[in-house]
Amino acid sequence: MLLHATAAGLRAISRHRRLVLVLWAFGLALSLAATFPLWRALAAAIGPLPHADSLSFSAEIFADLVELRPGLMTGLGAAAASTFGLGVLVGIVFAGGALEVLTSRDDRPFAHRFGRGAFRFFGRFLRLGAITCAIALPLAALVGGPLFALSTRLRRDSGSEWLAIGTWGAALLAIGLVVLVVLLVQDAARVRIVTTDERRVRKALRPALSTVWRGKAAWLGTWMLNALALLVLFAAYLAVAEAIPAGRALFLLLLLQQAFVLSRCGLRVALLGSEVALVEALTPAPPPTPVEPLPAHPPDSAPEPPLA
């Protein structure tokens, strides 16, 4: 099943390259918009500086910016936070559009199908997100909280550094696992909502949970393969990025960055494709509709109905 899902994911990338581009464009547009005020502030702050290293990061100038332009740093944090918030909404829009494109069989233009899915399912996915958040947060706190408390206590009392750090790591891992499972169930629910046009979000969650539970190895395996691929890509990005010399090669670095982001978008589409395949494979076939058995032979004695 894992192989089947992975293959479906790879097919999704090759067949729906425009989805990858749309996701990349969404992210880029949002990030550019959030960065523009920062760019203006930065240009005012360091534009007059002849010694501002125009092509590589200067820790010295950054240190002075942190110290002397706290507003700039606050703005930077605000930009990141607002981008995250908007990113959640963009993610919901994209998920609706992408799943519609991946699951619909009609031959309408890409933009039509994407837009249809994005707007049709936006409200439902938003409600679904709120519900999953409401489930995930207390669950994560329930699992991670005691472990964090234990880690703090061990740090103070045990004298074992490994134990304290290990418990802290276990807490993080447990929280991560809870969040991951909830996200996978949410993804399964999204697929069900799109394929069945289910309007009641909560009703879609239970079968989604059942789908994930039945194929838990395949779901986790698929996600881990995807995450592993992302990790490999990021490591490769870091290795190449470090090798690019500071200075005039900034353009190369920017290209490399966008290549990485595009690849990441591709992996996101692949994950969606795999998840659609998993839901299809794990959803039990509907029981056959009972059909009234036809009599083998009409009774001989029965008179033919009169023709009207």
Partner: protein, 721 residues
Amino acid sequence: MKHFGFGVGRWFPLLCALLATSGPAAADPLPARAPEIANYDIQVRLDAEAKTLSGTQRVTWRNATGEPVAELWFHLYLNAFKNSESTFFKESGGQLRGDRMSDDGWGFIEVTKIALAGGADLAAGATFEHPDDDNAADRTVWRVPLPAPVPPGGEVALDMAFEAKLPQVFARTGYFKDYFLVGQWFPKLAVYEPAGTRGRQAGGWNCHQFHANSEFYADFGRYRVEITLPRRFVVGATGKRVERRDNADGTSAHVFEQADVIDFAWTASPRFLEVQARFSGEADVTAKEYAEVAARLGRSLDEVRLSDVDITVLLQPEHGRQAERHVAAAKQAIKWFGLWYGRYPYPTLTVVDPAFGARGSGGMEYPTFITAGTTVLFNRWPFDRMLLPEEVTVHEFGHQYWQSMVASNEFEESWLDEGFNSYATGKVMRQAFGPWTIDALGLRIGSAELPRLGNSVERMFDRVRTPAWGYSSSGNYGFNSYARTDLTLRTLEGLLGPQAMARVMRTYHERFRFRHPSSEDFYKVVDEVAGRDLRDFFAQAIERPGVLDDEVAVVTSARVEEPRGVFGEGPARKTVTGKDAREQAQRKDAAGGRPWRSTVLVRRRGEVALPTSLRLEFEGGESQTLTLLETEPPAGSVDVEKAGLLPAAAGSEPWRSRFKRLELTSPKRLVAAGIDPERRLELDVNRLNDARRVEPDSSAATAWSARFVFWLQQIVALAGL
């Protein structure tokens, strides 16, 4: 009853001999020995279960002053941990450097006996004092009147017994499970300062209470300490172990001895991984390094040659992979501190890695004995590329020089201790390990940049030279004592030049090794070595609060306009219209161009005024540097080398008021102007206004923003899951 009396005659010749050997020698400016003022012979037993110490000690104090002394003052610093009413507890709030005191971790010390050696009991007249505040509940300073004054050159010996309960470690000293870091643990004599010492009007004991931010000021002496504790413990201590005896009761006695030190600390834990190494003055320093340092310092090769040192690193077992890092850091510290300031005179150095859970005892300095601090995370990539264990080791070793050997008063002049050491640590780290303290995952942070992070107007309300408990906040103590002093000394180095500064620091160390210098002593050395009067520099940078913030406020450059209007009188009167002027300008431009008229406005936003320079950059890459003198230059031509602190530049300008406007006409367009282009004035709080282009260039902002976009895209991707 034997009486170690107050006779002078018997000891005075020895005193003179010792003083003679402790002064600068003609052959080697480094004094070989410290004057023995306070000698200790201590026997202490650790009850590892009860966390208590039982000790006896013979203390011999010699009156090396010219005044009779009628009382002795002691530090009983474990009493800082006795209750919530101690000055230390009130200042620290029961937490220090991120560690909080546990509810039942109190510690204290009680002197159960004090008597003249073999003679009269002195306990009856003893009182607790609180010279720094009105806190009568503080029990960290103890005054003991003597039945008769100790005459000049005489000495007194006391027999003492004490019982102590160690605190659970949260700050500097104490226990955590079976780990013990035992510092400030025995009744220790304060320093008697005769009139004239460090500006004193009258002689007296300099004995401060134990404070949150300071704890060191003591006289030199010889220590012999016998530590008895369960046999399973690995023990490290100040000095050299001269004996180890296993007793029949399952304990071991470890005897350590060390002369020429101001304190004694020790540690014990059964878990220590003991790593031995040796620093060799022959193998660990190349002939070229010796030659270069000798030339820079103007000393002979023999004067800079280093001695061998036995290094013991007591590591937590889980940090075993970092043994080599600690040894390497210790060796680099012994090497570069030794080469630059004077050879490390002791035969041993012990580096202690505190137990997890006792990090409050990390990053501490005692003579020949330092505590570092690390974590298992630094065992592996990418954290192994963060040189924090190295930096802590180098810094704490540096206190052997700035606090332990040059024994300034940390309470009253912490900048001479922590600040000098921060400056020296940064230099050693950059020399030995390169510019980056952190170099991992594309993030690079250098030791030179970190002190600038706190260099802010907000931190300038205190003067650097302030008693450690007298700053407006604990943060301001930290900034002024460490980072601002580092920046001040780097600024001084920028003004004097690296060679002169190296000689200043060397001379200061040589002259005041095994002595108690004050700020004025350092100022005098600087004036003497630099051959200049730098009182104004120290008055501004150390003695007064103030900000150094020079800025280039305005830079403009435009073609010289052709004159227009009415010129001449009578028949020669001529009117040049705007059109005429423009046409004339065009003709001149076609013929090779009009000159450019440029204006540069430099301003002094802070109170501190230091000599600096101004670089003017012209189109085509040409540049010109002017020296801006802090005072009016002498009449006639200015010899910058003599008049100011900066090396000669192409020209110089006086700059005495809060601003200066420069107008110049040049064949090429001015594109930028920058003040202090060589970055000599590290104290400048704002580098963002040090230079200015005529036309702003947004490429730097674009480059930074482009990187930010990438990380925002990652946030979007994460949010869209």
